[in-house]
Symmetry: C2
Subunit: 357 residues, 2 copies
């Protein structure tokens, strides 16, 4: 068994700990090709009985016991300082040490990102990792980044995100020349903050794995106007959470509609099959799995409140990134981008503009 | 007839010009108390025949002819320079000259904001106007600002927006102590960019017409967690457009669901009444009307693509702001805020932090 086929799981992360993470691994295992194995990091007394219930999973799993858990409200800095023996930290260490090819955790996002950056470091050529996620749209799926790792991003970072996102769309989603848009407040070239316009100038002239198609606006995300949406972590986080909020509002309104009267309840019965398919299509559990792109080691974050199915989807995201050789491809592509004259001169122009202002 | 009761209409603005703006005024007139009148700015040959079809409207309206129209893709700077005789500019001039109490346009947003700022100036104590709009939520309505007038905002500007928004919620919506939240990427005090944390510090200590309740996240908007959401124009514009995009996605998905099978179509027939009510509740036309808060003169922007009903809603927004004496109240409240020691020291702390960085 190659270490790449081993997935390190922070068994204690999330709202439910092993009672979700262990059966989730069992669910994921059924979807994965043979050869995959798991290491569960956490409280052995809680993990073992759950593991023993699933013979197939038990056969490919091992447990590394630890009592320590990073609390969901722990500050990232505290987690770094005093989280050395935590289930999260040990799971990440396993990737650094070549015992596992990827790590999945439903724990504290800030602590996970800080620890992953410190332990695994960034891929060569990448200055800051981004959190990326796949979103459903009217027109297929879209991958968006950054969703909150970096509050402020300069043009160079945004260009790196464009590379991270387009390599994902290319090698994982199989899109030959993924379209890439920069999130902005208008389509015209003069619109938006300096760093977004500077990133646009670089992406327009540099060769990279995607096709830069210009600025996109907030409503273009759900339209599926592009394969990859690039933005800073502040805007991306707001956009993601607005999407979640409006989605909940819509499902709340729909539920209210179909319980508003006797006739409406009958209508819902007739439309039951269609409503069920709609629910499945929009299921946030299906899209679970925030990818920490740019980290030198595959690291995926599950929502803390996910159930077994949701957490199993995050495991599949990690397994997929490993299988498609995502990180090797990024390292290759980013080197090619950085060696281009149009990239170097674009970054220089950005730096001199920043010095003047 | 007091000039306050006169509404200046840019008859030519928007995708459809007088064929929408004139009948829209007729619709609005039916909702308004007696004493209201209109001045239509634009092409008399197009306006007059439409006006003559509605006797009640005709009786309270006048026309100021001009051939000039600001194009929807005109740069704001060009609109300022060469738009002197345009329907938009003349309608705004009418407010400055005391002929009208408010102006409504469905024209070019950038040109409208630039012209309104130049001609009408800001209210005393306000450095930058914001675009504000009312959004439907699970829990009543929420007003959000800025939606795109100011890409970058410092803490002082965000505090001014909090005053503009809370005075709106108080005097127009009638909420005695409106709750105000700053849009951010987490609820903890240490989260987010400097200017957002600095604005939070000032709003926590200063007395203003609203109650500052802390940071809100993207999903809190649709939840209706607060009465007023304050953010910079970049983030606010993205949040608004994401809301529109996801709303369209949801309605598209729902339509697809109820035409997906014979059974589903029957279901839709039974649920017809409920679906109709839902559509009405979520009707974007109902919420049409971007308010240019902080301008010394009431100025409301309609979506360019709105029909008669939608444009009539924007007219009602303008009439309401005038009737409630919104601008007078803002001038009063902002003066009281600025005279407080905690405001002055907060702004000083912000300035020294900026100088250090």
């Amino acid at each position: 068994m190659s270490h790449n086929q081993i997935i390190a799981l922070d068994a204690m992360g999330g709202d439910f700990g092993p009672s979700v993470t262990v059966p989730a691994a069992g669910l994921a295992l059924k979807e994965l090709r043979t050869g995959i194995g798991f290491i569960f990091f956490g409280d052995e007394k809680k993990i073992r009985p759950l593991l023993e219930k699933d013979a197939a999973l038990y056969a490919v799993s091992s447990i590394r016991h630890t009592d320590k858990v990073i609390a969901s409200d722990e500050k990232p800095s505290t987690a770094l300082r005093s989280g050395r023996d935590s289930s999260m930290r040990l799971a990440i260490d396993a990737v650094r040490d070549g015992e596992a090819g990827s790590v999945v955790s439903a724990g504290n996002t800030g602590a996970l990102m800080a620890t992953a950056k410190m332990v695994l470091k960034c891929l060569p050529g990448i200055s800051r990792p981004a959190i990326a996620s796949v979103l459903p749209t009217i027109n297929g799926d879209t991958v968006m980044l950054d969703l909150g790792a970096n509050i402020i991003c300069d043009a160079e970072i945004l260009v790196q995100f464009a590379v991270l996102g387009s390599v994902y769309a290319k090698v994982v989603k199989g899109i030959p020349a993924p379209s890439v848009g920069l999130l902005n407040v208008g389509a015209e070239a003069m619109k938006g903050p300096d760093q977004v316009r500077q990133a646009a100038a670089i992406l327009s002239s540099v060769k990279f794995p995607g096709r830069y198609t210009g600025f996109v606006e907030g409503d273009d995300i759900a339209k599926g106007a592009v394969d990859v949406v690039v933005t800073d972590g502040f805007t991306g986080n707001v956009a993601l959470k607005v999407t979640e909020g409006v989605g909940k509002f819509a499902s709340h309104a729909m539920k209210a509609t179909f319980t508003s009267s006797f006739m409406a309840r009958i209508g819902a019965l007739f439309a039951y099959g269609g409503i069920k398919r709609l629910k499945k299509k929009m299921d946030p559990r299906f899209y679970n799995g925030g990818m920490f792109l740019g980290v030198d080691g595959i690291c995926v974050k599950s929502h803390g409140g996910m159930d077994e199915y949701g957490f199993s989807r995050a495991i599949l995201v990690a397994a997929n990134l490993v299988e498609r050789g995502y990180n090797k491809r990024v390292a290759l592509e980013i080197e090619q981008v950085m060696s281009q004259e149009s990239f170097v001169s674009g970054i220089a122009a950005q730096a001199s503009a920043a010095a003047e202002s």
